[in-house]
Symmetry: C2
Subunit: 431 residues, 2 copies
Amino acid sequence: MTTLTSAPITAIETHDIRFPTSLELDGSDAMNPDPDYSAAYVVLRAGEHEGHGFAFTIGRGNDVQTAAIRALEPYVLGRTTDDLGALYREMTHDSQLRWLGPEKGVMHMAISAVVNALWDLRAKQEGKPLWLLLSELSPEEIVSLVDFRYLTDALTPDEALAILRAAEPSRSERAALLRERGYPAYSTSPGWLGYGDDKLRRLCKEACQDGFTQIKLKVGADLDDDVRRMRIAREACGDDVRIAIDANQRWDVDTAISWVRALAEFDPWWVEEPTSPDDVLGHAAIARGIAPLRVATGEHVQNRVVFKQLLQADALSYLQLDAARVGGVNENIAILLLAAKFGVPVCPHAGGVGLCELVQHLAMFDYVAVSGSMEDRVIEYVDHLHEHFVDPVVIDRGAYRAPLAPGFSSTMRPESIREYSYPDGPVWASS
Amino acid sequence: MTTLTSAPITAIETHDIRFPTSLELDGSDAMNPDPDYSAAYVVLRAGEHEGHGFAFTIGRGNDVQTAAIRALEPYVLGRTTDDLGALYREMTHDSQLRWLGPEKGVMHMAISAVVNALWDLRAKQEGKPLWLLLSELSPEEIVSLVDFRYLTDALTPDEALAILRAAEPSRSERAALLRERGYPAYSTSPGWLGYGDDKLRRLCKEACQDGFTQIKLKVGADLDDDVRRMRIAREACGDDVRIAIDANQRWDVDTAISWVRALAEFDPWWVEEPTSPDDVLGHAAIARGIAPLRVATGEHVQNRVVFKQLLQADALSYLQLDAARVGGVNENIAILLLAAKFGVPVCPHAGGVGLCELVQHLAMFDYVAVSGSMEDRVIEYVDHLHEHFVDPVVIDRGAYRAPLAPGFSSTMRPESIREYSYPDGPVWASS
C-alpha cells in the first residue's frame, strides 16, 4: 500500500434499500419463493472520497441488518484506510460484539458491509479498481490482511506466503490476459423455479447464444418437475454446455443423495447447496454418496472456519464464496488462500443486489495473485438490478470484463437509493 | 397440552437492559475481558398473563439484538400458545428472515427470546413450572415440537419417539426424586480470570464448603498463570472435587492440545470451548489429542445441526446447551434428544443474566422425560444477578431445587427493568 496517510472518515450513513423483485418471481428457488432483493447499505465519507458497501438480504429483516451496521459506527468514525488488516480484526474480535456471533449471521454481515466499504474507499483513494489494488500488494502485505485464528491446523502464514510468492513473478502476464479476455461467467438467469417450461427453454437457448458455456437450474421442490426441467434444459443447450443444479439447502443427507442420483442421467455439472450450509459432515457424506458427481457450496457458509472444514473433509469440489456474508475482503482473502492450499477452484456466488459487481474483483485478484488459474473457474452471473449501480458489470460473450474504474464497483446510483428506500421511498410509499 | 384455546397475544414490548458488570470483572475470561451482562428482553401480553423471554448478550450490540426481536412482532401478534411447534417452525423457516442466518447469530437468538417467552406464557397459562409442563406431554406431543430438518441422518422422529417412550413409565418417580433432592450444580464463581490468587483460593474453599462437588476455572490467557491457578485450586479443593477448565475459544487446535497436556497433572475434569465453536473437526482433533481428558462445548454452538455433527464426530464428551442461543425450548428439545441418542451427558451452560433460571427447566425435563439420568450431569451455577428475577434459582448444598412457580422463571423484576434500561435508566443515565 502507499505510505501516504489517507483522510479520516468523518461521516457514516446507512440506507434500508429494497427492490420489489417478488412481483416477477426473479430469484425464486426451493427455499426462497418470493424474495425482495434488498441491501443494508452504508456510505463512508472521508475527505473528497466515499466508500460504499452493503449486506445483501432478501427483504424482511433488512432493517435489523441496517441497525447492525449502525452499531459499527464507533469503530470506523475518525479512522483511516491505512491499516485495514488491523481495523478488520478490531471489529471482528470486539469482545462484546463477538458474543452476537462469533463471526456469523447479522453482525458478521454488518462487518462485511463496512469492511467492503472501507476497501471501496481505499481503492478510490488510490485510483484503482480493487482487483488491481489487491493484486499489486506484496505477499507480506496480503498475509497481514488475514486473520489466521482457527486456521493454522490447515493453513499457516508461511504456507500462505509461499502460495502468494509462487504466483508473484507472473502476475503481470495474467493481469494483461484478464484485461484482454475477461473472466468466464455462468448464467443463473434461465433456471429460477418460478419460471414456466417455455420461459425456461427460451432463456436456456438465449444464454447459450450469448456465449455462456455453463448455466444453472434451481431444483429441489419436486423431483418429477426437476426431471422434466433438466430434460428441457439439456435439450435446449445440447451436450457441450455445463448445467449446474442448485437445491438451496432443501434436502436432508439421504434425500440429497437419492434425488441427485435420479438426475444423474442429465449430467449435472455440480450440485449446489444440497443441505444445511452448517453441515460439514453432511456435505461430505453427500459428496461420497453422489460421486463422481460433485458438490458446490458457499453462499451461506458463515466464515473461514466452516470453509476450512469443508475443505479438510473433502466435502466440496467447487468453493462458492460470497462477497458480503463473511467478513468482507479480508476474510475472503483467507478463503481464497485456503482454497488454493487445497487445490479447490473458487466459483463465486453472485446475483442478488450488487454481488456480481463485488465478486468479480475477488475472482480476478485470485487469478492474478493467488491461485493463478482460471481452470474450471466461473463467476455466477444473474442479469438483474445492475442498472442501479454506477459502475455495473459488463458481460461480453459469457465473460466478465475486467472493471477499470477506481473502487469496488459497489456504488449504487443516488436516485436508486432514493427511490427504493424502505419504507419511505416512492416505490414503497405508494404500494 | 390442554385442548383449551388460549388467549391471543395482543401486545409485545422490548427492553434493552444492561448491567454494568465490567466494573467488578465478574465474568472475565480469556476472550471477554470486560463484559456488561445484558438482556434483549421481550414481554408478550395475552389476556391476564404475560410471557417473558430474553437473549443474553454482554453489552455492545444489545440494541441490535433488541431490534431483531422487534422484527418478529408480526409473527406473534394475534397468535396463541396452542401450537408452539408450528409457530417456532414458522419463524425459523420464514424464507426472508432465514437469509440472515440461517438459524444462527442475532436473528436466531431473537427467535430464541420469543420462543422462550411463548413457553413462559404457556406455562403460566397452565399454572405449571415449565419443566413439569414439558415432562407431562406425551412422547408424540414432544416429537411434534421438534424440527427434524437436517437431523434425519442422525436422529429420526421414530428414534426420538423410542427414546421418549422408554423414559415414560418412570417419569413420576424421577419427578418425585427431583422435588426431593434437586439437580446437581457446579460453580464457576471462583475462577474468573480477573480475580487475584487470594480471591481464587478463598472462593474455591467457599464453593467446596457450600457443597459443590465441581468447580470451573477460566484458562487460556497465559500458561504459567494457568499452572499456578490450577495448583491453587487443586490445593484448596482437594482431590475429590472436580475442577473443569474453560478456555472460551482462545486456542487453535495444536495450541489447545499442548496447553491442556501441560495442565493434565492437575486432573481437569473437562476442557471447555478449547477453540472456535464452529470447528467440529477441530474439536474432534483436540478430543483425540488430549484423551483420556475430555472436551465440553456448546454455549456458543449456533444450532442443532452443529451439535449433531459434534456428536457424530465424537468431538465432545459433555454437551453444554444454552437456553437462549439456539431457537429456544423447541430446538433444545431436539438437542436433548440428539444427546440421548448418542449417550452424551448434557451439562447446560448458565450464568450471564437469567441463564441459570432458564436452563434448570431444560435439565430437569431431560432427567424426567428424556435421558432419565443425572449421572455425570451438572448444571452450571454462577452467583450473580439472580436478585433481578421474580422467581430466582435456589441452590441448596450444591444442587438446584426444582422450581415450583408457574412459568419459565424468566420474569425480571419491573424495578430492575426500569433501573437498568439502556441508555435511559437511572444506572446508565447517571454514568
